[in-house]
């Protein structure tokens, strides 16, 4: 796949009339070609992408089209910020407060997803639509918070106060801006993959996503409860991503705290075939692409948006490959629903 990306990038550069060599060099050294870029750019971006990508994978796997990772990310970020800024630091030991903040971020994300989950379970509302609405509401809510209750004391900038250093997630020594959020993301995404592969509840989720009717009839699975659980778990993961981003990188809440992580997450998850283990790699890949894109624009004058084209083409390639695969297998003599003769 890496070869395909390099080839694709080279082709796009060529077609666009850009210097292919310098462009690729910038892409390389801006992403994984140097230790600093790899840790402080690529992996730093990979952390939120990994958690939100995992969130999307969990939901989509269960047949829940959660387009709302962005909103759940924001609510997690806002909740974590609010907690650490509001609770007097002295009362709680710092590590405990940080842990609590991350937990609250998860709860906030789950609650935000929960609105759409309830709308789906109770009223049959399409989650595709409701989560998009909730993304906008979350965006406005953050905008309100950083100009209202959470605004920094001088009331000049639309952002919260900076979180004191004691409450930052510790950095990983020798790795620039990279913080322990990476460890957390890898652990959580890894466990999610393990749960899918090895536990009964993970399997239930997959079965419901594959075929709700067979899950209910042959598996005697409570489909509605399983999808609701998956939806809220997904929200919790995206919320956690928001909390980790605030405590690990931005140290404050502001309007554009997410450059669309929740949307890129959909691409990350899809490219990984909705498998959390592979999300770990696609998240790093997308982190690298976006880090490299910045470098390419800076150093070689190549528009960073070129990378979005690569990302989109990757997904479309997956879509086409899947369609072709299903058709090929089906053509191999399947009894079509035992004939339509009723």
């Amino acid at each position: 796949m890496l070869a395909a990306i390099v080839l694709g990038a080279a082709l796009l550069l060529f077609v666009g009339g850009y210097p292919v060599g310098p462009g690729l060099r910038a892409l390389w050294f801006g992403s994984i070609g140097s230790w600093y870029a790899f840790t402080s750019s690529t992996l730093v971006r990979a952390i939120p992408l990994m958690l939100t990508g995992c969130a999307v994978a969990v939901a989509f796997r269960a047949g829940v089209f959660n387009i709302g990772a962005e909103g759940q990310f924001l609510s997690g970020a806002a909740a974590a910020t609010a907690l650490v800024l509001v609770v007097p630091t002295l009362r709680l030991p710092a590590p405990l407060l940080v842990a609590t903040a991350l937990l609250v971020a998860m709860l906030a994300g789950a609650a935000w997803a929960g609105i759409a989950a309830v709308l789906r379970a109770r009223f049959g509302v399409l989650e595709v639509i409701s989560t998009i609405m909730l993304n906008f509401v979350a965006l406005s809510a953050v905008s309100y918070l950083v100009r209202g209750p959470l605004q920094e004391p001088t009331r000049v900038y639309p952002q919260s106060s900076t979180i004191v250093e004691a409450l930052h997630l510790p950095r990983i020594p020798g790795a620039g801006r990279l913080h322990v959020g990476l460890v957390l993301a890898v652990l959580i995404t890894g466990s999610a993959g393990w749960l899918f592969r090895h536990t009964a509840s993970g399997f239930r989720l997959i079965a419901v996503g594959e075929s709700p009717s067979a899950a209910a009839s042959a598996g005697r699975i409570d489909v509605s409860a399983t999808t609701t659980r998956a939806f809220m778990t997904s929200g919790a993961l995206a919320g956690l991503a928001g909390g980790v981003e605030v405590l690990g990188i931005t140290f404050a809440l502001y309007d554009n705290i997410s450059p669309g992580y929740g949307y890129t997450a959909i691409a990350v998850a899809l490219l990984a075939g909705l498998d959390p283990w592979r999300v770990m790699f696609t998240a790093v890949l997308f982190g690298a692409l976006e880090a490299g894109a910045g470098a390419m624009q800076r150093d070689a004058g190549v528009p960073s948006s070129l990378v979005s084209v690569i990302e989109a083409l990757l997904i479309l390639a997956v879509v086409v490959a899947q369609a072709v695969r299903v058709r090929r297998i089906s053509a191999r003599g399947i009894t079509l629903a035992a004939a339509e003769d009723a």
Binding site: R197, H198, T199, A200, F203, R204, I206, A207, E210, S211, S213, A214, A215, S217, A218, G219, R220, I221, D222, V326, I329, S330, R332, G333, I334, T335, L336, A337, A338, A339, E340, D341, A342
Partner: protein, 498 residues
Amino acid sequence: MTASPAHHTGSALALENVRKHFGSFVALDDATFEVRAGTVHALLGENGAGKTTLMRIVYGLVHADACTMRIDGMPATVANPSDAIARGIGMVHQHFTLVPVMSVVENIALGSRGRLNVAQVAKRVVEIAARTGFSLDPWARVESLSIGAQQRVEITKALARNARTLILDEPTAVLAPAESTALLRWLRSYADAGNTVVLITHKLHEALAVADDVTVLRRGRTVLAQPAATTSIAALSDAMLGSGAERTGVNGVASMTGRSARTHRENAAIVFRAERLSLIDATGVVRVREASFDIWAGEIVGVAGIEGSGQRELLRALAGRIAPSSGKMIRPADVGFIPEDRHRDAVLLDRDLSENVALRGAGIRRGVIDWTSVRADTRSLLQRYDVRAPDSRTMLRALSGGNQQKLVVARELRTAENGQHHAIVAENPTRGLDVRATAGIHARLYRASEAGAAVVMYSNDIDEVLLLATRVLVTRGGTVHEVPLDREAIGRAMLGTS
């Protein structure tokens, strides 16, 4: 084609050499069918005999593998429903093809071009209603209408497009007796006016009462075609269900002969008990009314009944998939269930075989799944049940229909063979399978009963019921009766010709 007393002349519809297969399942095997203009023609056959498929080919909804068609004597090809409509053919499907949220007028107008003048369409509806005697409110929403009224909308829809040949698929199955009588009377008068009617049914008395000619399909072949006046219920019933001579021919399990003599064992445990059991379907219609029966360990109880007679709901209640609406049902907690529509209800097409095996019981399992042992288990099931698959990691979709079904049977039966649980409910378990696979599944069900399981099996095919069952329950119009193990008796009980 104006109304003329000199009908019974040309052929309105003629089909020859019709073949159609779905995967490995042969739905139509060189069927022929001819309808004289100006007649009511009954098309008879058991479920799965190919009646509906044949008529869906005429209407352009199914493409035949081979077919020679003549409409009004002219060679014709019908690629899609609009071709059929253009040739004066209208079809009233068993499951209505109406848009529920739309008005009668909108439903009838659907499929034309240009400006939609609802007032004009409404006028046409009223005009047709005057001719047919149907009372229809053109402005009513279809979903607010009774089933009988919806059927009249379907017929009006066909007439509004100048249909001269009307195909109706089991039209009386959804109607109350009085409504049925009225409909049949209307069909008669419609044909008498020079039009043509094809009536798909499995109700013999209905066919003989109204039809000029009858055609019987069995297993995709035309086995009888003659004027109604020259045949009898007994002859039709024989044609539909197959004669005794043929019956032995399909026998896949030689060792099972003479089993009908077997009675249930002394002191066998009662596994299922229904007491005044009533069941309603998803739409709230009562499907089984106050049924009482017992089923013992070690029996194979065959269930026979025409579509919509309550057999579906009865099987699901026994399998624990639906709850009684009233009355009592005693059943084991864990019942093996082999549903008819396996793609929808039994398998995960895009997961591998061991995951499909693990699906059973997934709702109550806790903690970690030991896939190594599930895989080993799956491999042994593949071997023991002769499932042709490369290995346990193969995607289910890649298996042939017969092998998919064998895996489902293996999964649902396995614990019964171990004597761990004692009940299996199977619904058309060999539908769409070839002779070999069918014989294999029959042997499995038989072996499970020998091991002490109570087996309940529904089949469209009376031969299959007779082959396996130690006892037969027939469902008819929501009632459940035990019937002697006798083909004629079962046929009579099912079709209501007693």
